[in-house]
Symmetry: C2
Subunit: 305 residues, 2 copies
């Protein structure tokens, strides 16, 4: 129920690009990695510095710190004890949940963190300084592009239980967005339903996309006896848009439909979802006569698999 899906994209040769990525990595390690460490780990060991940074201005729970930095709880505990001894942090139990402990930076801790901030700034400036104005602009744009695409490649798509917390979160937000975007609003009880059991194998399935453990999109599929698969609940969270994730979800769903023996895909959609409609057309979906009476739909599409 939770194995990640392998890539659905074509198996063209990656080799020349692999060389570029590796060369890039080497340069990054030399120019960013090493210096970064030396800059940040000046007064504190790197672990402490990272923790100090991660606690942030508003504080955080030990639990979150452990998760975000992916550190062993014993280790985090020890680091916190050390920071506490240096008078940089205060730890107290959460009022909400007595097991959880909240960490906040003391005044001295905030000062220390500001110092780290300054160092990171100085470092960034040292990269930009020798460049001309136009080079700087180009560098900024290229960095943004690399970042965007690397983040896109971090998104993982996997089959999920529609009743899981993450799946429900996606579907709720999907409904909320439809309600906002449809001129008529949207009431999920009125349209054609897709109940959890219908999106659970073997009746169908639901894919959920995650970015850094957090859900950022979903797409469902109902399998019908006649070999027709029905696409439902295609949604990408606003913060993950522009990463090509809709496209990836669609390809993954098509593959899943093929694997389930479907020969045709159906979907209906509302006229206000122009981006989605463009994507369906671009992927070879043909607009056809209405094949159901979904009250919110303006367009019906099909694609032979």
């Amino acid at each position: 129920m939770n194995m990640p899906l392998t890539s659905q994209t074509s198996q063209t040769s990656l080799t020349p690009l692999v060389e570029q990525v590796r060369s890039f990595n080497r340069t990054m390690t030399e120019r960013v990695g090493a210096l970064n460490d030396h800059f940040l780990g000046k007064n504190h060991p790197l672990g402490e510095a990272r923790l100090l940074w991660e606690i942030g201005i508003d504080g955080a729970s030990v639990r979150d710190l452990r998760r975000r930095l992916e550190l062993d709880s014993a280790y985090v505990s020890r680091l916190l004890r050390s920071l506490e001894k240096q008078g940089l942090v205060e730890v107290k139990a959460s009022a909400h949940d007595g097991r959880v402990r909240l960490v906040r930076l003391t005044k001295a801790g905030l000062r220390e963190r500001a110092e780290l901030d300054r160092r990171a700034d100085t470092f960034a400036r040292s990269l930009l300084e020798p460049l001309s104005e136009s080079q700087r602009v180009k560098l900024g744009a290229a960095m943004a592009e690399v970042e965007r695409l690397l983040i896109a490649s971090m998104v993982q798509i996997a089959v999920a239980d529609p009743t899981s917390q993450d799946a429900r979160w996606c579907i709720e937000h999907y409904f909320a967005e439809l309600n906002q975007r449809f001129p008529t609003g949207f009431d999920p009880t009125r349209g054609i339903q897709a109940h959890p059991h219908e999106l659970t194998p073997p009746a169908g399935l639901l894919l959920v996309a995650h970015l850094r453990e957090e859900p950022v999109g979903c797409g469902g599929l109902k399998f019908h006896e006649n070999g027709i698969g029905e696409l439902k609940r295609m949604w990408v969270a606003p913060r993950a848009r522009g990463l090509g994730l809709g496209q990836r979800l669609l390809l993954a769903l098509e593959q899943a439909a093929r694997d389930a023996g479907m020969t045709m895909l159906h979907l209906e959609t509302n006229g206000s979802l122009t981006v989605a409609i463009a994507m369906y057309r671009h992927n070879g979906y043909q607009e056809v006569e209405a094949f159901n009476d979904e009250p919110y739909a303006h367009h019906w599409f099909e694609k032979r698999l």
Copy 2:
């Protein structure tokens, strides 16, 4: 004689770009740094793996390894002993200099290094795999751009002694290139000279650009009594072209001329150096009547400072 020069570019606000650089660094550390380490440090501790990698197929001296990885000599020695015990490297004294020790990978070491190579490949692939073909191409291009600009920002320009090894290396290569490019060939004894003492303060100066300790370009200046500075020996090594280095050298020379009280710059150049000529024009140099009888020159330029 060897202090790095500060930036000559305008002091516009770097702040928004600094934010982009820092965000980029964070993503890199998360996505490239951490994973890189885990990938490489699978069979060996990271230090050993890095060393194994750095020794390379052709071997290296302990001295160079220490410099390149910026490690303490005791530490390198220990790492080498460990690799030796594992049968991965052989260390023997240099025939050239009995103090220097040369390290070479054994067959087993080469196998091990190939394994690291494969891992790095796998990692690069894992970044590319989830992306669509067009995203991959964009990522490759953006990475190349970031890399090119970061390398550009690594170049350091400093005043150098014209008799130093690096300066002589640059000037020799400059002459060799002129000899190749001029239809008539080039004989340095025939044209107007620029002897070392003329390029040494206070009579003049020579800037040499370095990338990773290696010289990659130069630019000289002779100061005359009448407030006219004469540009000489502008050259960028082929491997450092496309980094905007010529432009940087030119700006640095202009600043140095101003600092020396010059009010005008003169230069003459050969018609075959079209890129250089374009750069001079672009930087406000006006073509004027011949002000000397340099036999290799076709164009004479001046710029009021």
